[in-house]
Each structure stands twice: as structure tokens, then as C-alpha cells.
Symmetry: C2
Subunit: 439 residues, 2 copies
């Protein structure tokens, strides 16, 4: 078999066999396939699609391209959440301690931000001293002691995905459902989960702009997870504006700690609501509580009692971070930053927000990456004052930019102004949870 | 502009601007585009096509990626022929001296064989001492003295094509009309031609298996050539069996010399007929003779008078070859080779021949290449005894293999037997020239 034979079959709209897909995935890892051959196949898959059987084979071969973790010796069930990525999406930091307190073990393997989307690892590293590059032994120890642990993608888990993702990013072949499914699920399945809750974002700040695409992706993910024996559900949630108030690394951690402390800004409430719902589904799906309603009650008590904040504090300590931020979130604020008010040019109601553009505006001032090799300025960010449905006067603040240099700040402010659409009529605020996809 | 922007537009079925195509072609030469980005775009072009304007821009940018020759100081008009490639296709060696004798200057830049197709350079190198790697100064000198000269693709002519062709070959993106057109025409236009005759092959040994595809390609080539001010015509010719009798390098040169000497084996006659027609069209299209019929008469006299043979002999001398082969073609025969008779297993009529498989059978015994880096055995080859429409008895020879090692010879003979389809009814012999495409 030659790479050309496989490329030709997919080019001509045919279905690849299990053996052909295995040959491809092994060839990606071993370099038997040249990058230019892999990218030609990726484009053919993007344009000609994949059958359910092909998607299943691709996921399984990518999963088995590396190490598969096993936490079955732990007493608790093991569950995780995965989000398809958005702007201001910080639920992991809240739902992980919530679920852990409720008796779920959460071994979270997260990513970094790229383009307009943020990444959990970058956020955690805004806490002074916090280490995300734990060894697998340390990861296991933190997990046993705290109930949740956070690390980055390792070299040994789904190595095929690492190479393919870099190629997809450079060749505009990211947004293909079978490739997204295989990428997400190969990594998640490698974490040895009993249950998985997916947060599929839909809207201006998501990969999937419309709900139809999000639903198609969610169904494919749920079907794949369950076919591998992992109880999997998906929520389709709104990403037509940043989730909550803060966009940026330190400011997002700060928002999470405020919420865990019970200090709830109304603009940040959707973060808390979604975190509680996702955590409750992890609790019920993993079998800790049979009833979702009972699970919701348990999760809320974990929040209100301060147990989740304690659990988060123990995680920060265990992963080397300065746990004082949990009691004094103001410590996360970089006092050398300037505050720039971004003002509305006219009066009206916030009718729509281009959330991806808000993400890019934060990247412009150093809070995000254009390339994976770029470094991040943890302190900078944006705090939304106005969200969809809010009334603003001309000259009133849409939000605050925390930034450094003037020219970047001006570009960033201009992007934010252009991202807000002000209309005369008040729109309905978007629904946070649009749909639940079960097997 | 980033490569991703261009890839995305073509991926989504959009039309690339002149600037985007220029950015791509320059990026291929400068390595600003990674190979994996180029191959992703090539696959997107393969699957989503290109408009006439895009094809035109791609051709022009590839043409101007390198040096453009200029023979306008020569007294004669400058013309060439290009074939899309076949099996046993050796017309260049006959039509070049025919056209040169009739007053056309023929600066032929040819290629090497790959896969099942042969290449003019490999054939010429079967003549002891013949040099195809002339400098451009030597090329010009031979052209002035002899009227035609033969060299290989240089590093300086259309360098973008060289890189793109290698990528297309490795990623199954060869057979896309806009890419074929840009590849062929960028090189041919760089040779500073007044007129160009295209021989677009159609059939079992051609890129284009069916006449519809061949016609579409021919029309695109003719339109592109004329739009650049080169008078261009195309013939669609039969490649449902090897052209003539010989397939292999030395044996094909030998067949050409026989034909130039007036020694015409009936099975080789199509080679002569097609060479005369192509040469006559070069003579008329380049304006030497206004009437095609007059041009045909002139070409036939160049053949019958022995002037074309003399011209060929002068070219062999000028390019360093042993010109004695022109008078004693038997000198091209390698006497250390074995002759293996490939026999028909049953009686009937030759109904069809898989010409590509005949080409591969010759490659198996060393007469062709699987990869560009493979070396060639000039002596080996196949001499067809039976062509389409011929009657054969069981045990009668389909042809003779000139070969060396036994196991390869057996595989080769088996391939040849499987390539011949014997039927009970006598089929019509295929028409040599199927269609003429004029602007």
C-alpha cells in the first residue's frame, strides 16, 4: 500500500478501509507519510467527508497511536468535560472542583489558546507558580489527593493528533466534523474515562457558527464516545458573546474565584449556571447520582458550602501555585496595566457581539496567540460591561481593556467597538443552553 | 496575505484572484509556502476546479517564475509539439527533423519517462554519446546549425512547475485539467514559440481514458496557448494501444530511424502517419506554408528525399551521439539481451490492449521508472507483433520481450498477456486521429 493509493480513494469519494486508515495514522507518527501527503488527504477528507465507519476507525487508530491511561484502581468514577472552544469560556476551573467534591474523579487534560480562543492551561498559569506540566505520576497523585488535576497534552497521548492538528491548522482543514471528532475523542478516550460531558459551542465565537453544524458535531461526538463504552452527552451552548464578563487569562481566573467565593456579578452568572449544569451532568452520567436533579442539588451545595473553593485551593497548592489568590483574587491583578474604557459610539441596545473578534482583540494586546510558539501576557484582558440585550448610552462603556502599549490598545479597542452591534430595538438575550444531545 | 487565506478560499469553492495565485506560485519557489500547504491547495483545486481566469493566471505566474527564452533573432519561425504522454509515442524524433527541413525552428524541451509513459530524453540517450544536458548556449548553436535541438527541462525554466509536479505526483493531484494546462503551457510558453501543436492522447495508455476528458483538456490547452499569442492547435489521437510496434528506449529510436529511412513495418505505420500530420501542422501553423495540404506535401518530400534522415543525423552528431546508428540502426540492439516470445493463450482477434499495462510491463524489466531517481536500462523493450484487429492463433506471438533476468521477464510477460484482450469477433481498428481542436 502506498500513501497515494489512500489519497486517491478519498479524492474520488470512496470509503477508506480500516487498514488504509491504520496505514495513514501509523504513517503520520512514523513519518512514512510525508506531511504534504497527509495534508492532501486531510483536504480530501474535508471536501469529501467520511462515513461513520471511517470516523470510528480514525478515532480508534489515533487513540491507539499512543498511551491509554487507566484510573480504574481509583475508588471514584472518572469523568471529564470537553468544550469545543470559545471566548471567555472558563467553566473547567469551576466544574472540576464542583464535580470532585461530589465524588467524581476529574483527570483533565487541557489545551492552550490559539487564534481567538482561550485555553485552560494558559489561564491556570496566570496563577503564580502553577505547574501544568506534571509527570503522569504527579498527575495521579494530585488526582488521588484533590479529586481533580489539570495537565497539558503529553507527548505520549494520541501523538498522531498532535501532528495532524498542526497540519490542519496550517492547511485550513480544522473544521471538518470527522477530523474534529477523531481529534477530540482520541485524546479524551485516552484519559480512561467512564463518562464525558461535551460542551459544543455555537455562535459568533465558536467553530460552528450555526446550531445545525453544532448539532451535527455534537451527535457525532456523542455517538463516538458511547460506541467506545464511555457514557457521553453533549450540551449545545451559546457562544454568541463571551461567556461571562472576563476575557483574558488572569481576569478569567479571577472571575472563577469570585464565583466559587459566592461573589456573583450578574454578567458572570452564565459561567456559574453552565458550570453547575455541566458538573451535575458529570455527577449523574458517571453514576454517582442516578437523578440529574439530585446531582444538581448536590453540586449547588458543594458551591454554597465553600467546599468547591476549598477543593480548588487544594489543587492550586498541589500543583505548585500561590493559593493565596483563592482568598485574595486581587493578587491576580497586574497593577502596571492601563485601563482603557471602550465606549459605545451611539445609544441603543446591544443586539449582537462578534465574540471571535473580542477574542482577537485580546490576542492583539498579548492575551492570545497567532502561532503556537507565541508567548502570552497573562495579565491583559477585556472586561465586558455590556452584554446582549443591555441598553447603552452614547459614550457609555462597552467594557474595559486591561493593556500595555498604546498602538495595540487602539487597535484592540477599535476591534471591540466593531464587534458590538448596537440597535434601536432590544433583542432577546440568547438562551445559554440550546439543546441537550443524549445517545 | 497568508497561505491559509488562499487555501480557505479555494476549499470553499471560491475564485482565486491574480494576486492570490501570484502569492502561491512565488511562495512555492521561495518556500514561503510549506509543501504541505501547497499540496492542500492542489487537492482543493483538484476537487473544486478553477475558472478560465484562474487557469490563465496560474499559467502566467508559473511561466514567469523562471527564464523565458527568445529565438526571435532566428530567421525561421519557431514551433514545437507537445504530447500528453503515452506508450510507444516516439513522434518527436521524426517530426522534429521533418519540420526543421521544411523551415521551422524546433527548440524541443522534453521530459523523462515515469510510470507507464516513456520520455523523449530517455529515448535519445539510448544513442551512444547523445547529450541532452546542453547549456542554453549549446542548445541555441545546435538549433541554428541543424534546425532542431533537444534538451531536458532546465532549473531556470518554470521552476515552480518542477516543484509542483513532484508534489502532484506524490499526492494524486496530477490529473486536474487546470493543473495540467498550467504545467504544460508554462514550460512551452517559456520556450519562446510562435506556434504549438498539441497531441492529446486518449485511451487506455493515456492520462485521459475517454475522449470527453481529452477534448476538454485539448480545448483548455488550445485556448490558453492562443490567449498568450502562440498559435496553438491540438489533435486528439488514439492511445488505446502502443503507438507503432516498439516500446522501450533503444527499440523506439531504432523504429524511428527505420521510418526515416523509408523502411516501414505496417505495425509502425501509425507512427509515421502521425509524425507527418503533426509536422505538417507545425509547418502551416507557424506560417511557413499557408495551406495545410501544401505543408503535408512538403513534409512528405522531406521524408522521401532522405532530407529528414540527414537532418536527424546532423542533430545526433551535433549533440555528441554516434551518428552511425542512422545508417546501421542494428547498432542500437544490445546483443546480450534475451528474446522472450509472449504467446496468445487462445485464438481470436485482438479486441483491446491495455496500453498502460504494456508500459508497466516494460518498466518491470528496467525500461521505465517507478520513481524519478530510478535508472533506466536503454536496451530492453517490447516489440508488438499483434495490434488491435489482428487475428492470432493460440500459441502465436503477441510480441517479443527483449529482457535480462528471468523472474522480471516472467512478470512482464504475464502483464503483457493480461493486457491483450482476445475476442471472437474482429473489432474495427481504432482511428488514429480522433479530432482536431482549433481555436
Amino acid at each position: 500500500m502506498r500513501p497515494q493509493d489512500v489519497i486517491r480513494r478519498k479524492r474520488d469519494g470512496g470509503e477508506l478501509s480500516r487498514e488504509e486508515i491504520a496505514f495513514f495514522v501509523r504513517g503520520v507518527v512514523s513519518d512514512e507519510w510525508a506531511d504534504y501527503q497527509s495534508s492532501a488527504l486531510l483536504m480530501a477528507i474535508y471536501l469529501n467527508g467520511m462515513s461513520g465507519a471511517e470516523q470510528q476507525s480514525l478515532t480508534e487508530e489515533m487513540l491507539h497511536s499512543g498511551e491509554v491511561l487507566d484510573f480504574s484502581e481509583l475508588p471514584q468514577p472518572v469523568a471529564d468535560k470537553h468544550s469545543t472552544g470559545g471566548v471567555g469560556d472558563k467553566t473547567s476551573l469551576i466544574l472540576a472542583p464542583l464535580a470532585a467534591v461530589c465524588g467524581v474523579c476529574v483527570p483533565m487534560i487541557s489545551g492552550r489558546g490559539l487564534g481567538h480562543t482561550g485555553g485552560t492551561l494558559d489561564k491556570l498559569e496566570a496563577i503564580p507558580g502553577y505547574r501544568v506540566n506534571l509527570s503522569l505520576a504527579e498527575f495521579r497523585t494530585v488526582l488521588e489527593r484533590v479529586g481533580f488535576a489539570m495537565i497539558g497534552q503529553t507527548e505520549t497521548i494520541a501523538p498522531a493528533d498532535k501532528k495532524l492538528y498542526a497540519l490542519r491548522d496550517a492547511t485550513e482543514t480544522v473544521e471538518a466534523i470527522p477530523l474534529i471528532v477523531a481529534s477530540i475523542m482520541s485524546k479524551k478516550l485516552a484519559a480512561g474515562l467512564d463518562a464525558l460531558v461535551l460542551d459544543v459551542k455555537s455562535g459568533t465565537g465558536a467553530f460552528m457558527h450555526d446550531e445545525t453544524g453544532a448539532e451535527e458535531l455534537a451527535r457525532a461526538l456523542v455517538a463516538t464516545g458511547n460506541s467506545f463504552g464511555v457514557r457521553t452527552e453533549a450540551l449545545i451552548t451559546d457562544m454568541n458573546q463571551p461567556l461571562g464578563r472576563a476575557v483574558g487569562n488572569a481576569v478569567e481566573v479571577s472571575e472563577c474565584i469570585d464565583l466559587l467565593r459566592g461573589e456573583v456579578d450578574e454578567r458572570a452568572r452564565p459561567v456559574l449556571d453552565l458550570s453547575v449544569e455541566l458538573a451535575a451532568r458529570m455527577v449523574s452520567l458517571s453514576g454517582v447520582e442516578a437523578s440529574l436533579d439530585v446531582a444538581r442539588g448536590k453540586v449547588k451545595r458543594a458551591l454554597e458550602s465553600g467546599a468547591a473553593l476549598d477543593c480548588f485551593r487544594r489543587n492550586v497548592e498541589a500543583q505548585g501555585g500561590d493559593a493565596r489568590v483563592c482568598d485574595e483574587p486581587g493578587r491576580l491583578r497586574d497593577l502596571t496595566l492601563r485601563e482603557v474604557r471602550v465606549e459605545s459610539e451611539r445609544a441603543g441596545f446591544v443586539a449582537a457581539i462578534d465574540a471571535a473578534e473580542i477574542g482577537r482583540a485580546v490576542a492583539v494586546i498579548g492575551g492570545g496567540r497567532a502561532r503556537m510558539s507565541d508567548s502570552i501576557d497573562a495579565g491583559v484582558g477585556f472586561l465586558a460591561e455590556a452584554k446582549i440585550g443591555d441598553e447603552v448610552k452614547a459614550g457609555e462603556a462597552l467594557g474595559l481593556l486591561l493593556c500595555r502599549k498604546t498602538p495595540d490598545a487602539e487597535e484592540s479597542a477599535a476591534r471591540i467597538r466593531s464587534a458590538y452591534r448596537i440597535a434601536e430595538e432590544q433583542p432577546r438575550a440568547p438562551e445559554l443552553i440550546k439543546e441537550v444531545i443524549t445517545p
